[in-house]
Amino acid sequence: MARPATRTRDLVSVSVDGRGAAWCDGFWSGDAEIIEDARLAATYRAAVPINGLKFEAHGEDALGALIALHAHLPGRTIVVESTPEFGALLAERAASDAPETWSAA
């Protein structure tokens, strides 16, 4: 008898200056400072700057959690495990803020 299929869990993790932090299905793990800032950002739905653009952090899904994990040091955060939605969101926002779309001053 085959084992029942297990649900694939959403998992995101980042590295900041050699310190790691991760979120999996509502659980935060890793460096205490990163996690504290990520929890705060997710609780208050903070706008976290990533690549010069602001994204809203939350703790409801992997995408919001990954944004929240950037809250500690956005410029030094390296995404180790990501979700496909994150790349798509970055590309979408970058395209909408591209210089070609700027209106003439």
């Binding site: 050699g18 790691g20 010069g52 410029g75 001053a105």
Partner: protein, 395 residues
């Protein structure tokens, strides 16, 4: 909420559920893995396959830094200025910079890198070359200062002072103990103060401060070179220096010091400062006070130019004439030159610094305050008796 299995309706702790436990474990594992993913590659152990060493790729380091030309740095600096100005943010140059670097922040970082490369080229050395020397100098100075502290027994004296102080202030000490401890503490305080004031300790402190500031030895010379390199590189991009205008009351020494420091500031900043009220510069050992745009008040009579309302056909050049303000003397109201009004109030008015000759009139021969009249001009009142010089006649 979990309830004990001995309860009527037991319930397991939710955190022990398999799904949640596996999520927690996966999260912790991923965090550890992420922490290790960006560590420096360690030496591969023999017989171990895979691991971090195999997964980490080392980027090739270029042979040397590429030094940008002055024109390139200027172009980049102008583009960054455009990006941070609301009028020119959407200019073609700003768009090109964003397309090249991705964001304003990265463009600024690129400009900083370019300036650093040119500064280090001018200086002939890099910051990495100096950091080891300055650190060694600082450590040596700290060791020397620690040796001096040990020779002067400063730490043990300080410890003894604290212990004696606690005895004096303690509620459990007897009066005799307190008196003895206080006397001993005064002796220790004198020893400590003498040690602090000694030339040996002062020299050690000066040496340590100089080492911390990087102004001594070979490393100090290298730092000065690097500083000059940065000044030169910045001057290539932006005009530096100028003459700061200060208030007339500013001492020449303070003026010199401030103007020396101003030579590393952009010229347009200095022009902007000069367009405002002239500040008063002082060299002070205590805290400084600064009030932006403060107009320094002075008792010295300064030229005041009054606006002259002139008709169109009149010459308006007179409006630039300087006038001086004078204060009218209220006692001279209506008194013509050379005449004395003869004040009947009998009160004396004395001005500081000047002594006005006075005339006296004595009425019935008795010298009373009411009978003495004064006038400030020294002239005789019509109809009055001739005044007597002071001291020539006694009453």
């Amino acid at each position: 909420m979990c309830r004990a299995c001995t309860d009527a309706n037991p319930r397991r702790c939710p955190s022990s559920l398999g799904e949640l436990r596996s999520a927690r474990d996966r999260s912790a594992y991923a965090a550890n893995k992420a922490a290790g993913a960006t560590r420096k590659p360690t030496k591969a152990r023999s017989g171990v396959k895979g691991g971090l060493t195999d997964a980490t790729t080392v980027e090739e380091v270029p042979a040397g830094p590429v030094i940008p030309t002055i024109a390139e740095v200027r172009e980049l600096a102008d583009g960054v200025s455009d990006l941070y100005s609301p009028e020119t943010r959407h200019s073609d140059r700003g768009k090109a910079l964003i397309a090249k670097y991705g964001s304003e922040d990265r463009a600024v970082i690129a400009l900083g890198d370019a300036l650093t490369a040119r500064a280090e080229m001018h200086a002939g050395l890099t910051a990495d070359d100096i950091s080891g020397d300055t650190m060694a100098d600082r450590l040596n100075a700290e060791l020397a200062a620690a040796g001096v502290r040990g020779r002067l027994k400063l730490d043990s004296l300080k410890k003894e002072m604290d212990e004696l102080h606690s005895i004096v202030k303690s509620g459990r000490s007897t009066l005799t103990e307190k008196i003895e401890a206080n006397a001993r503490r005064n002796e220790v305080v004198d020893q400590y103060n003498a040690a602090i004031r000694s030339a040996e300790y002062k020299d050690a402190r000066v040496q340590l401060q100089a080492a911390q500031n990087g102004t001594t030895g070979e490393s100090g010379q290298k730092l000065a070179k690097l500083r000059d390199g940065y000044t030169t590189a910045l001057a290539e991009v932006r005009q530096l220096g100028g003459s700061l205008a200060f208030h007339d009351k500013t001492a020449p020494k303070a003026n010199k010091v401030f103007n020396e420091a101003a030579q590393v500031y952009p010229s347009d900043w200095i022009d902007a400062s000069n367009s405002q009220a002239a500040p008063l510069a002082k060299i002070a050992t205590a805290r400084a006070h600064y009030s932006h745009g403060h107009v320094e008040r002075t008792r010295k009579q300064m030229p005041v130019s009054y606006p002259v309302l002139a008709r169109a056909d009149e010459d308006k050049t007179l409006s630039n004439d300087a006038h001086y303000e004078y204060t009218r003397d209220p006692n001279q109201d209506g008194v013509p030159e050379g005449a004395c009004a003869g004040s009947t109030s009998g009160t004396r008015r004395r001005r500081s610094g000047t002594r006005t000759p006075r005339c006296r009139r004595v009425g019935d021969g008795r010298r009373t305050r009411r009978s003495v009249e004064t006038c400030t001009t020294g002239a005789r009142r019509p109809g009055s008796r001739r005044s007597t010089p002071s001291g020539s006649r006694r009453f």
